[in-house]
């Protein structure tokens, strides 16, 4: 099966749908967005990810037209959108609270935007029927929002925002109100709908798992800035900073100094600990401060010191987090640092090899970790 890879951000000839050019947004003295320049391409599923207060919602509200940038321009399909009010933009938004009109039925909610466009009755009916089918809501067309469940309300909100076939759909924490199981199902539904409609989606979320699941690219934000924008796999495997490494998934950060060795850097991170080895594309000077970020699942945990790996540390098991499919071990090194190691629970719990207070060896390969500057 051949498949063309969807990576317009690597194609210099591709025309971005949205361009942020040196956009700054201030509320009084507070800078919510700090001089940001980036592109979003057509048919992308772009996630803005970050803790609350990092500016991701402001970014989205500027796209919707509820906020105007203090400096810089935002282009949608090459056109500056600053002078266009929200009701004239080819952008629709799905609100965090869904914002369904409580006095209108599901059908009327979905038809609301179409009626504003002065479309004919038949056209509206056909489009609403199509949306109801897409979101599997045919049976609930006549109900009011309070007569349906949370998951159904979420789908009504989605159908309503998609009904006008916007160039760009904004989703503000769309799954925040759903329980974990329903959320997972809905994530895949969202991806299917995004693919079948070919609409560009920009999603705002603080849930890194959600962003990783649905998005073609994830932009990790901190303090009004995009720290890194890349595919979920690259964000996870090749974070560009300690902040991103720490924000996405679990990670152990060992800080020390780097020295160039043969093919790999030698890292000394504590006086009484062995030297660690890590390959890196980033250049480090001898004696420069560095941070080795290593994911727990790339750390092996054994009773004896492994003979085939240079990176091996001995420690004592401090904590075991049992997650069902996985167990995460928190191993304390003699110097007090905690290193996390994860194993898949392929055997039953009763035959688990290690327990609290056991002395174990942790090991990983030279390429397992990422060496970061800060």
């Amino acid at each position: 099966m051949s498949q063309t890879v969807f990576e317009p951000w690597n194609d210099p000839t591709a025309k971005p749908l949205i361009q942020f050019k040196n956009v700054t947004k201030r509320f009084g003295d507070f800078t919510a967005i700090d001089n940001q320049t980036f592109d979003i391409y057509e048919k992308e599923f772009f996630a803005l990810l970050g803790p609350s207060g990092c500016g991701k919602t402001t970014m989205m509200r500027m796209l919707a037209g509820f906020e105007a940038p203090t400096e810089g321009t935002i282009l949608l399909a090459g056109q500056d959108i600053a002078p266009i009010p929200p009701n004239k933009r080819a952008v629709n938004m799905m609100f965090q609270s869904y914002a369904l009109f409580p006095h209108l039925s599901v059908w009327e909610n979905i038809a609301f935007g179409l009626k504003r466009d002065k479309k004919s009755k038949d056209e509206i009916a056909a489009r609403v029927a199509e949306m109801l089918k897409l979101t599997r809501l045919e049976k609930f067309a006549k109900r009011k929002p309070h007569q349906i469940s949370g998951g159904q309300r979420q789908r009504v909100a989605l159908a309503r925002s998609l009904a006008k076939a916007p160039k760009l759909l904004l989703l503000d924490e769309p799954l925040g109100a759903l329980d974990a199981k329903l959320r997972q199902d809905t994530q895949f539904e969202l991806m299917d709908i995004q693919e079948s409609t070919g609409t560009t989606f920009v999603i705002v979320t603080h849930d890194q798992e959600e962003a990783m699941t649905v998005a073609s690219r994830v932009a990790v934000m901190d303090d009004g800035k995009i720290v890194q924008a890349d595919t979920p796999a690259r964000i996870y495997e090749m974070p560009n900073s300690v902040y991103v490494a720490d924000f996405i998934g679990e990670v152990t950060i060992l800080s020390g100094t780097a020295r160039r060795g043969d093919g790999a850097y030698e890292i000394s991170f504590a006086e009484d600990q062995p030297t660690l080895f890590a390959e890196s594309d980033t250049e480090f000077d001898n004696g420069q401060e560095c941070h080795l970020a290593i994911r727990p699942e790339k750390v092996s945990i054994t009773a004896q010191k492994p003979s085939d790996r240079r990176n091996a540390l001995e420690g004592k098991i401090l904590d075991i987090a049992y997650l069902g499919n996985l167990s995460t071990y928190h191993v304390e090194l003699p110097g007090g640092q905690i290193v996390k190691a994860q194993t898949a629970n392929t055997t039953r719990l009763s035959r688990r090899s290690f327990t609290w207070e056991d002395r174990v060896w942790l090991s990983w390969t030279d390429t397992a970790g990422v060496l970061l500057k800060g």
């Binding site: 009701n87 938004m93 935007g113 007569q147």
Partner: protein, 271 residues
């Protein structure tokens, strides 16, 4: 269920007697056949019949209804607009002053309001009549509407309005199609409150009424000063009946709506 002890029964009877005994006496004597209010001479409905013949009372009633309907409608429009600005406009210079000024008439003694309006009308040479009563009633009931509507608007989810804008509404369309229908119950109760206040206002109306236009409360008040007649009792009984029916209907409708909403929400969870 706890049993009704003698103490509970006594408190209950005393409380209700305090509230309703005066009205009960009034209603009872409206069916008295004697012309003397305090002497019972047998059951009769003749005073109700005579009431319908009394042109002066009927005129006053008509004036009162006209004033109440018109003034409460204007007050509802103005009060809703004031509430929208005060809740929505966010911070602007003098916001606290404005909201204080809108609510001040709530605590202003009616005599003062009445007197100042009277002075104004004389000052600008406006002949007193039904028009001046309407103006006066609009003035004082507007702030009540504003209080009722703004307390609803505070809890109104503004993303609903943003959603309307996002789907292509102009600001006015968003208000007309989304905000207004949702806050309609508050607007209606604001109207009802203004209507009731206007119906039973005596003080402000007596300052601003002219010789040609007398409202029912003024008529009753001046009639009673010449002695309580059974006709007044009958009139008051009718007013009590109208108010009671209104209140009971309103509470029944609200209760049924909330019960149905609860049932729907339960059904939705299990669906």
């Amino acid at each position: 269920m706890r049993r009704l002890t003698w103490f509970n029964v006594t408190s209950l009877s005393l409380g209700f007697a305090f509230l309703y005994l005066p009205m009960l006496i009034l209603i009872t004597y409206s069916f008295n056949s004697s012309k003397l209010v305090t002497v019972w001479a047998g059951f009769s409905t003749k005073w109700y019949g005579e009431l319908l013949q009394n042109e002066a009372f009927l005129d006053a009633a008509w004036v009162t209804v006209q004033v109440a309907v018109v003034s409460s409608s204007i007050a509802t429009v103005l009060g809703t607009m004031a509430a929208l600005v005060l809740v929505r406009a966010g911070r602007f210079p003098g916001r606290t002053l404005f909201s204080g000024m809108v609510y001040a008439p709530l605590v202003m003694p009616e005599v003062i309001t009445g007197l100042s309006l009277l002075l104004l009308f004389i000052g600008i040479g406006l002949d007193r009549g039904i028009f001046t009563i309407i103006l006066a009633h609009t003035t004082f009931s507007m702030c009540f509407v504003s209080v009722v509507v703004s307390s609803r608007l505070v809890t109104f989810d503004e993303s609903l309005e943003e959603a309307a804008l996002d789907l292509g509404c102009s600001s006015f369309q968003a208000f007309r199609l989304v905000t207004l229908p949702i806050v309609a119950p508050a607007v209606i109760s604001g109207w009802l409150l203004a209507f009731t206040l206007s119906l039973d206002d005596l003080v402000i109306a007596s300052f601003t009424a002219g010789p040609s236009s007398t409202t029912l409360p003024i008529k009753i008040w001046s009639a009673v000063r010449l002695g309580v007649s059974p006709e007044i009792n009958a009139l008051s009984t009718i007013m009590i009946a109208i108010v009671a029916v209104g209140v009971i209907t309103a509470s029944l409708v609200t209760k049924r709506a909330s019960l149905r909403q609860q049932a729907d929400e339960r059904a939705a969870v299990h669906a």
